[in-house]
Amino acid sequence: MKLGHAIMALQAICGREINKFVRQRGRLFSALVRPALWLFVFAVGFQNVLGISIMEPYDTYIVYQVYIVPGLLGIILLFNGMQSSLAMVYDREMGLMRLLLTSPLPRWYLLLMKLIAGTVLSVIQAYAFLILCAIFQIELPWSGWFYALPALILGAMMLGAIGLALSVYIKQLENFAGTMNFVIFPMFFVSSALYPLWKLEDAGADILHLLAMYNPFTHVVQLIRFAFYGQFNSTSFGVVTFCLIVFFSLAVWGYDPQRGMTLRKGKPG
C-alpha cells in the first residue's frame, strides 16, 4: 500500500462520513440533546444530593454540573462509537460495505479508516457540546479545551473500536436496540460518569464498584476529566490504549475472511 493511496482513501472515507453527518441535519441536534438533558435537568435536580467533595483532579469544591461534563463528553463518544457500528451494519445490509471490503486495500486499513472517520465525528460533537456548556456558563478551564483533545481522540477511538468489534456480531439493524440495553446503558451507569466511584464503595456496592473500576468507559471519562485540568492519568491512559488495541484487533479478526466470524455468516447461493 502506497502512502498517497492510503491518504486518498482515508480522505474519501472521512469525507463520506462527514458528508453523511451534514446531510442528516437532526443528528447533531439529537447528539446534543441527550447530554444536555443530563446537564440541565438531571444535574440541576441532583446537585444538592450528589455534592462533590475535593478529589483529584479538582483542587477545590466543584458544582455537580462541572463534575458531570467529562462523563457527558464520554457518552457523546460512546453513542457515536455505537452509531458507527450501526452504520457498518447498515452499510453491510445495503451492500456499501462490500464495495469497501473489495477495495484493493488491506482489511485492517479499511477498518482503521472507518474508525478514524467515526472519531472525527465524535470529536466534532464533543466540542459542539463544550460550546453549549460555555454558552450556559458551566465553569470549565479554557485550557482544558486544548488539553482534552488527545483524550477525546483516544477515547473516541477506543469506544469506536468496541462498536467495530460489535458490528461483526450484529447481523441486523434491529439488533441495535440490544446494543443500547446491554452495552451503552450498563457502560454509562456503571462508571464514574455520573458519580465518583468512592460513592459506590461508601454505599457498600462492592460488586458495582469493582465492575466500574474495570469498565473501560470509566477510564475514558477519567482520562478526559484529568486532561481537562492539565493532568495525565496514566492508569486510565494505559487501560484505554490497551482496550483500543484489543477491540480493534477483534474487529480485524472478525472481518478477516480467512479466520473471522464473517466466514460463518455466509450462505450458499
Binding site: L99, L101, T102, G266, P268
Partner: protein, 260 residues
C-alpha cells in the same frame, strides 16, 4: 503494469480457479470447481437459484475464503495476495452498492479514491465512462433520482474506472426491463473486444448467454459444463441453450434423487 491500469497483457488466463470447494456447515456450496477465463472472453456462469454462483463470486472477490483449492486472478492468488488480486477486478454486485444520496460523480470519485487514482486522472476516466454510457449530463444528479437501468450503468462505469482486466457481473441484470437488459449485455460484450476485458457474467436468465464465448453451468455446487454454447447444445442433443440448460440441470437433479 501501470498502478491504476490493470488490463491484462500476460498469456496466462486472467482467472484460474482450481479445485475450489466451499462448505457452510455440512452443506457443500461449491464442490471441486475448476475453470478459467482468458483475456477478452465473455464467459456466462449459468445456474439456477442456489447453484453456488453467489458463493463463487464471494470467493472471487475475497469476501470469503475457499476451504481448499486456489483462485488466481491475473497471476495473484487471492488467498495470499488479496490486495493485488482485487486491484485487477471490477465488480458489479447483484445488490446495489451505490450511496443513493450522493451524486453520480461523488459515488465514482469515492471509488477512484479507494483505488488510489489521482484527481486529474479520476476526472478524465469518470467523464469518459459516463460519456460512453450516455450519463454525462447527469453527473451531478443524486443516484436516488436514477432509474434502475441507469443505476446499473453507474455501477458498471464504476467497475471499469480502475481499468480492470477481469469484470465480474453478479446477476447484474436483475430488475431491469428486457430492453435495458439487452443493452447492458451488448455493452459488456463490446468491452471484451474493445478493451480486452475478460467478463464473468453470472445469471440464471438463459437468453443473456446465447452469444457468450463460453458457458459454465453450475448446479448444487457442482460444475456441470464448461464449454461453448454450440458444444453445449450438441452435447445435450437439444435445440437451444435454454433446453440444454434445463436438460442438464434436470438430469442432474434426477441423478441426485436416484443416488440418494
Amino acid at each position: 503494469m501501470n498502478q491504476n491500469n490493470h488490463s491484462y497483457k500476460s498469456s496466462h488466463p486472467v482467472l484460474q480457479v482450481s479445485s475450489v470447494s466451499k462448505s457452510y456447515g455440512k452443506r457443500k456450496a461449491l464442490d471441486e470447481i475448476t475453470m478459467q477465463i482468458n483475456a477478452s472472453e465473455f464467459v456466462a456462469l449459468l445456474g439456477p437459484n442456489g447453484a453456488g454462483k453467489t458463493t463463487l463470486f464471494q470467493l472471487l472477490t475475497g469476501l470469503f475464503v475457499a476451504d481448499n483449492g486456489s483462485i488466481i486472478i491475473q497471476d495473484f492468488d487471492i488467498r495470499h495476495h488479496a490486495v493485488r488480486a482485487l486491484a485487477g477486478i471490477g465488480i458489479v454486485f447483484q445488490q446495489a452498492t451505490l450511496d443513493l444520496d450522493l451524486t453520480i460523480g461523488a459515488n465514482l470519485r469515492l471509488h477512484t479514491n479507494l483505488h488510489g487514482i489521482n484527481k486529474k486522472e479520476s476526472q478524465n476516466r469518470i467523464h469518459k465512462e459516463l460519456e460512453r454510457l450516455d450519463l454525462i449530463a447527469r453527473i451531478n444528479d443524486t443516484v436516488r433520482s436514477l432509474s434502475g437501468g441507469n443505476k446499473r450503468k453507474v455501477e458498471l462505469a464504476r467497475a471499469l474506472l480502475h481499468q480492470p482486466g477481469l469484470l465480474l457481473m453478479d446477476e447484474a441484470s436483475i430488475g431491469l426491463d428486457p430492453a435495458s437488459r439487452q443493452s447492458l449485455v451488448n455493452y459488456v460484450r463490446e468491452l471484451c473486444s474493445d478493451r480486452n476485458v475478460a467478463v464473468l457474467w453470472a445469471t440464471h436468465l438463459v437468453d443473456e448467454v446465447e452469444h457468450a464465448d463460453k458457458v459454465v453451468v453450475l448446479n448444487h455446487g457442482k460444475l456441470l459444463a464448461d464449454t461453448t454454447p454450440e458444444q453445449l447444445i450438441n452435447q445435450t442433443d437439444t435445440a437451444g441453450i435454454h433446453e440444454a440448460f434445463l436438460k442438464l440441470t434436470n438430469n442432474k437433479q434426477e441423478n441426485r434423487e436416484i443416488s440418494a
